[in-house]
Symmetry: C2
Subunit: 334 residues, 2 copies
Amino acid sequence: MQATRPTMRDVALRAGVGVGTVSRVVNKNDKVRPETRARVEQAIAETGFHRNELARMLRPGQITATIGLVIDDLANPFSSAVASGAGRVAGQRDHVLLIGSTERDVETERDLIREFVRRQVDGLLIISNDLKPVDETITIGDLPIVYIDRAPVANRYDRVMLDNHTGVKSALNRLVSDGHRRIAYVGGSPTAITGATRLRSYRQVLQGHGLPVDPELVSMHNYTADDARESVIALLGRRRPPTAIFSDNNRMTYGAIQALTALDSRTALAGFDDIELADLLPFEIDLVVYSPSDLGAKGAAQLFRRIDGDTGAARTIRVPTRLDRRGRRFHTGA
Amino acid sequence: MQATRPTMRDVALRAGVGVGTVSRVVNKNDKVRPETRARVEQAIAETGFHRNELARMLRPGQITATIGLVIDDLANPFSSAVASGAGRVAGQRDHVLLIGSTERDVETERDLIREFVRRQVDGLLIISNDLKPVDETITIGDLPIVYIDRAPVANRYDRVMLDNHTGVKSALNRLVSDGHRRIAYVGGSPTAITGATRLRSYRQVLQGHGLPVDPELVSMHNYTADDARESVIALLGRRRPPTAIFSDNNRMTYGAIQALTALDSRTALAGFDDIELADLLPFEIDLVVYSPSDLGAKGAAQLFRRIDGDTGAARTIRVPTRLDRRGRRFHTGA
DNA sequence: ATGAAAGCGCTAACAA
DNA sequence: TTGTTAGCGCTTTCAT
């Protein structure tokens, strides 16, 4: 269906030179007589020649200038922000991004990684849902890999992680110092790496303050904002309701906001992740915010360090979080 | 820096067969004696062989199973939703997405397209900012291309477009039927294809209702939510302020919301694009909503039709919009 | 400065 | 059923 495109041979024939000369012209660097170069360039223009990168990449020692990015789902703003940061850094290095979505399925993730390896990517950036490190299931060789946001417990690769613990701690500290003693936790899957980490921090921080961890106040398995809304409504209906809520991520926070608004409740709220329009809320809210695109950018930067030959020990790079009080900004007159 | 990976030759040597047999095993389809196949598969496992896709793709008549996607910026939720839809469809066809961001720069866009052509993509999906059709600046041959969301005025390619006119019309009709006669327009760049289209519709619809188009009520060149906020504040400060505002896109809508909230104004608001948390607003708002991922999905679907050999006339595929009244949902008791 | 030719890893045609 | 081989388009010696 695709008419065969002109090759260097076609250009060479037309310009009356050898293919080697065409290659030299295309690659700018070499010494070619200006007059010859002009003839070749004209032939290129006339034929509409584009070098076949696949053929170039096939030659030994050539890079593909391609980074593979494995993410959950492009529709997820977190993932797409990571992709954006990674893409920016890759672009600066004249690399292109091959992106695949796993939909959180481990087999899909492995298939995607295999596919990218087969396509000879120069490096791999992975937001993984696999409990096993990639080199346990796939022969990776010495292909540089950087895990982003989460990573299997023991593995030999670099990782760029959010400072989850500090984030959870800062939010809970704020709630505690505001006088709260009964702080609920609203989360999703307890086996998801990030969720498990944050839940652990929640328990740890409460205990650090000498507060009991009441299982009644921990609501897990909320997978949508609607789930979270119902769970929060249920929590607030208890005999001894919480006076504050910590939500594990932005979906949970949305649900909690809906519940609080619907019930006209004054329960305090803090949550992980930023949310749009938070400033327009009629009550205050503490958010653990950070730059998701930094995760991608720092991941890509570290990947290029490896690609450039850095063989040092695996690094863990932290992306900081910040506690931000939001809401009521435009309600000061009310 | 990358140790050389095992090739089919290595596998063949180890299994004591010819490379042709290894190729047959890897490509499943052919007739290979089960015993031979087993030997080869073991050799593959032992060597950790991954077929080099670049070499495969180089053979004549082979596809690369790659779709190039050219977008503004992955950080933009609209773009990433388009990418998500396109990626889903591409995945169903076992194709992978090569994604590049133009940052709205025409030269970057052209460079990216050239790069994707060089990489032998099977098709190209473009959210373009170029006023010229791609085949006027780049030799494309018969590579299938589908424009998404916007397209140069005259070109020979398929396009998937939002029904902008109907969207603007539905919102303005609603405002007019609510009794509004002075409806302001808050927009961005008047030369951006989408913005120009919507502004034209605005004028057209007002005139259709026999309403004057007051230039005083048209505020262009707002590029951020902050710009829009200030512009709306200025608009409302006029001697004869508008009684309603139409905002060209989500950033403008955010700014307008901020302005309205800050001024505690009851000016009506309608806008293009959905926004998160709209239901939590203390006032009603009419939004022109649609599925951005549908743009990507339908674009990819049409692209595959072309890849599959459809040579019919260029099609314009419309993605519908819907007017949605939002806000106050959780304020019913107030 | 330039042409000729080898070879990258693979698939497919041909031979056996 | 299986091995051998030509050749995809390119880069890169090696001659000239």
